[in-house]
């Protein structure tokens, strides 16, 4: 049987000012109908370029297929070489034969067109239906991707939908002309875990129904294990390994595949241990993170409330209850993880602590002193002793300043060191975060993502803080780099006795780094306690849902019957007359507290 898609010796190059740069070197890849092939690799490995080459969207990006064949067998059984197809041929194939779901649901839909029209136009074009029939088909497709109230959603604009709903709209659009090959390029990377689980299950179900072939591009080995039949691993534009999903996970042959799998955080890896432990990189086993010595907290938050007023036409129409009566404490040498999904208030909590948001009420204490009300003296102390590491290491470094200057700035601001002394300290800090003194002269754009995040960490350390708030600090990094940076942060904690508030949505990383975990939902903490207790005996239904949604990087443990609901998280925006119910948490074990009252109506 001929495969649906058979790529042989594909080479792709991009034009630059000098000689063209080859980004795909002699790739071979085959996909059969009904089969899911996962294309995995880290950023720059060429996996997305491969998808652009197959669809020939490459033509619009300045890239060129410089060699090889992309044999595609169409519905009539005719084999076409997509590498040599004309734009007209490609246009006829896009939609009814080959469809694609992109990574960014936020930007991949046209902001000025209604959702219904965006789906219906493809239906009209390829199936020759009239306006009304195409819109009815769009409605049916929305229902099929489990969007509630499809009649209403048809008339909405993309900005009115959540990320998960937009991605479903993208899928509905891709499926609208019953494609025989679906390419999904990191379709769930920008989504929350529970939403990711919903979307993956949807794709799996639709594939079973339609028998389409699927290329699934991802860097997440957990997703690969959930979904793929076969796996092709790419590195620097070359396929380094190819095999069935079981084979790749059980007996990876290539060193890069082995390294990639070793760096993947596996949820449950530390279920038998009370203390966090760094990742094992390159065979080195690091000891558990036994760093909590002092029971007196560095940071203590009591009943913190942060709300944002929503006004319309000068009148107060409602409030976003971003943070509702959150209480927590972090001790020296301890990492407290704040977990939850987008919009749960975890970032606002962190930002409220250092005054990036103004808390509505509550108390924040640093070493026992009240710093809630901002004064010049309290701000000075706050900004010296608590430092922040942000998610996007590129956006949070000034592109016009050298790395050395950025790191030295807090030293000068807080009068810790000047001149040659500051320079010496910058060099020490760079060494401490695994860079070299030469990096001080560089600008952010000359560094890789991982190096930039190391610089951000060095800058955070420059004022010799006692607490670091890391807001999704490793979320934007590739798996192998992520493991290194997590280990670095843990090493700094061991060496300096740092306290850490680790804000993250990645449960597997959280398991690695944290001594204690607080789970947030709709602005409230629903469960807080020692990491092992929370992860092995989640007492709150939302914690359990969050943990169950994490894909397990083990194809043997794939659970296709997993019960998931397709509902959306309720909005934290509430009417003035309808404040949320908040009650004290109940202690159910040593230091383990859980909410027993109804939060947001569902939990």
């Amino acid at each position: 049987m001929t495969p649906l898609l058979d790529i042989t010796d594909l080479t792709v190059a991009f034009a630059t000012d000098g000689a063209p740069v080859t980004v795909i070197h002699g790739l071979d890849l085959a996909v059969a109908s009904g089969e899911t092939v996962a294309l995995v690799g880290e950023s720059g490995s060429g996996k997305s370029v491969t998808s652009l080459a197959i669809t020939r969207l490459l033509d619009y990006t300045g890239g060129r297929i410089s060699g090889g064949r992309i044999a595609y067998t169409d519905a009539q059984g005719a084999v076409q070489d997509l590498a040599a197809a004309t734009p007209q041929t490609m246009r006829a194939l896009r939609g009814p034969e080959i469809a694609m779901v992109f990574q960014e649901p936020m930007t991949s839909l046209n902001p000025v067109l209604r959702v219904g029209e965006q789906i219906a136009e493809a239906v009209r074009l390829h199936q020759g239906l009239d306006e009304a029939a195409a819109l009815a088909e769009a409605r049916r497709l929305l229902a099929r991707v489990r969007i509630a109230d499809p009649d209403r959603q048809l008339r909405r604009y993309p900005f009115e939908l959540s990320g998960g709903m937009r991605q479903r709209v993208m899928i509905a659009m891709a499926l609208s002309c019953r494609p025989r090959l679906l390419i999904a390029d990191e379709p769930t990377t920008a989504l929350d875990v529970t939403v990711q689980a919903q979307v993956l299950r949807l794709l799996r179900g639709l594939q079973a129904e339609t028998g389409m072939g699927m290329i699934f591009i991802t860097h997440d080995m957990g997703v690969v294990a959930e979904l793929a039949d076969r796996v092709a691993v790419m590195q620097h534009g070359r396929k380094v390994e190819d095999g069935s999903v079981g084979q790749i996970f059980a007996a990876p042959q290539h060193p890069y595949t082995r390294a990639l799998l070793a760096a993947v955080p596996v949820l449950g890896a530390l279920s038998g241990q009370t203390l966090p432990r760094p990742f094992d990189i390159a065979g080195t086993k690091l000891p558990p993170q036994d760093t909590v010595r002092d029971e007196t907290p560095v940071l203590e938050i009591t009943d913190l409330v942060t709300r944002f007023d929503v006004r319309r036409n000068f009148r107060l129409r409602g409030r976003v209850h971003a943070v509702e009566q959150v209480s927590l404490a972090v001790r020296p040498g301890e990492t407290l993880a704040l977990v939850g999904e987008s919009g749960c208030g975890k970032s606002t909590t962190g930002r409220s602590v250092i005054g990036l948001e103004t808390p509505t009420s509550g108390m924040i204490r640093l070493d026992g002193d009240d710093i809630t009300r901002s004064t010049a003296a309290s701000d000075r102390r706050l900004h010296r002793e608590i430092q922040f590491v942000f998610q996007d290491p590129f956006a949070s470094l000034n592109p016009r300043l050298t790395v050395g200057f950025s790191i030295a700035e807090p030293m000068r601001t807080h009068d810790i060191a000047h001149g040659a002394e500051a320079e010496r300290r910058v060099h020490d800090l760079l060494a401490e975060v695994g860079l070299t003194p030469e990096h001080a002269q560089r600008y952010p754009h000359e560094l890789s993502g991982g190096q930039r995040q190391r610089v951000c960490i060095a800058r955070a350390l420059a004022s010799e803080p006692r607490l670091i708030i890391a807001d999704e600090a490793v979320a934007a990094l590739d798996v192998s780099i992520r493991a290194q940076v997590v280990n670095l942060m843990m090493e700094l904690q061991r060496r300096r006795g740092l306290a850490m508030l680790f804000i993250s949505h990645d449960m597997a990383v959280v398991e690695r780094v944290s001594h204690r975990v607080a789970v947030m939902y709709l602005g409230q903490i629903v469960e807080i306690g020692p990491r092992q207790a929370v992860f092995t005996n989640p007492a709150h239904a939302y914690t359990a849902r969050l943990l169950a949604a994490v894909p397990v990087p083990d194809p043997a443990r794939r659970d296709r019957s997993l019960d998931l609901d397709d509902s959306e998280v309720p909005s934290p925006l509430r009417a003035l007359s309808d404040p949320p119910i908040v009650r004290p948490l109940i202690e159910i074990g040593p230091d383990h507290f859980v909410a027993r009252h109804s939060v947001g109506g569902r939990y």
């Binding site: 194939l93 896009r94 046209n110 902001p111 000025v112 074009l125 604009y157 009115e160 993208m170």
Partner: protein, 306 residues
């Protein structure tokens, strides 16, 4: 939408108050005494004082401002110190010619500018793009008054096709509105091109292509509306530029409009006319910006619905 309009209208009040203070203060900071100028060289100090009182120029500067602002609000604009005609009448006669000139100029320049911009953006890097952009650069670099003089030389003096100046028939409009709009069309073309090229690189354009849509649909349906959103904002700013340009162009083509009136009034220190006219320009400019914001909301559902 009505509430939005009311809010935006309310927001223009402080702007206009600030402008009025600035206009008043600036005119009064000019050297020279208008009362003395009006009274003539033979006048006695008592005559000058009487004229000063009549012109509302006695008392402290604050008093003078409040008196002027109060009168202006009641549309009592006073009389021109040059011709003794009511200011409202002087401006009224000149208002329509300038309005028509600027409207004709902005309409043709916006349409042509956007068209050139889109065509250039669609054919990026090809000869038609280069030609469009050479045209645009020339349009920006060529001073309107010089172009006006050249055109008069060619079309009026040599060929005798069009009148050298004045106001009345459509032939009178051709050269002034062309010269006035050229710079705007050029700026719009360049800006539209870059907005269009940028929008063509957006993710939703890739999505549109992936549906198998033709490049024509991708460009006109999916890209243009998104690209026009920033262009709308620019067109509002360009209107202010046109008002400024009208002063020069009206002089070149002896156009009986507000621009020339302003120049004449400044040379005669005709305070009431200058002040009234600048206030009028400001109100026009504020209103245009309001209209632009409403258009912006119409083009962008995210603004409209929030």
């Amino acid at each position: 939408m009505l509430a939005y309009l009311a809010r935006r209208l309310g927001g223009t009040i402080p702007v206009l108050v600030a402008v009025s203070m600035f206009v008043f203060g600036f005119v009064h900071a000019l050297p020279g005494d208008p009362a003395r100028l009006q009274a003539g060289p033979e006048a006695s100090p008592a005559d000058i004082a009487a004229i000063r009182t009549e012109m509302g120029l006695d008392g402290s500067i604050v008093e003078q401002y409040l008196r002027w602002a109060g009168n202006t609000l009641q549309l009592k604009l006073g009389r021109s110190s040059k011709t003794r005609q009511p200011v409202a009448q002087v401006i009224g006669e000149r208002f329509m010619p300038t309005l028509w000139l600027t409207v004709v100029a902005i309409v043709w320049s916006t349409v042509v500018g956007i068209l050139i911009g889109v065509i250039s953006g669609l054919n990026r890097g090809r000869w038609i793009d280069r030609a469009g952009m050479v045209l645009a650069i020339s349009g920006v670099s060529f001073p309107g008054f010089w172009l006006g003089l050249l055109m008069i030389g060619l079309f009026s003096v040599r060929l005798g096709w069009l009148p050298t100046g004045g106001y009345g028939t459509w032939q009178h409009f051709v050269m002034p509105s062309f010269c006035l709009g050229v710079g705007v069309a050029a700026v719009m073309a360049r800006f539209t091109r870059s907005a269009f090229v940028e929008a063509m690189g957006e993710d939703y354009v890739r999505t549109a292509r992936m549906k198998g849509l033709s490049e024509r649909v991708v460009a006109w349906k999916h890209t243009l509306r998104n690209a026009l959103i920033p262009v709308i904002t620019l067109s509002g700013l360009q209107f202010g530029f046109l008002l400024g340009g009208a002063i020069v162009i009206e002089t070149v083509f002896s156009w009986p409009g507000l621009g020339r009136l302003l120049v004449d009034s400044v040379s005669f220190r005709d305070y009431p006319v200058i002040q009234a006219e600048i206030m009028l320009f400001s109100i026009e400019f504020v209103m245009i910006n309001l209209i632009v914001d409403l258009l912006y909301a119409a083009a962008n559902p995210e603004i409209r619905l929030k």
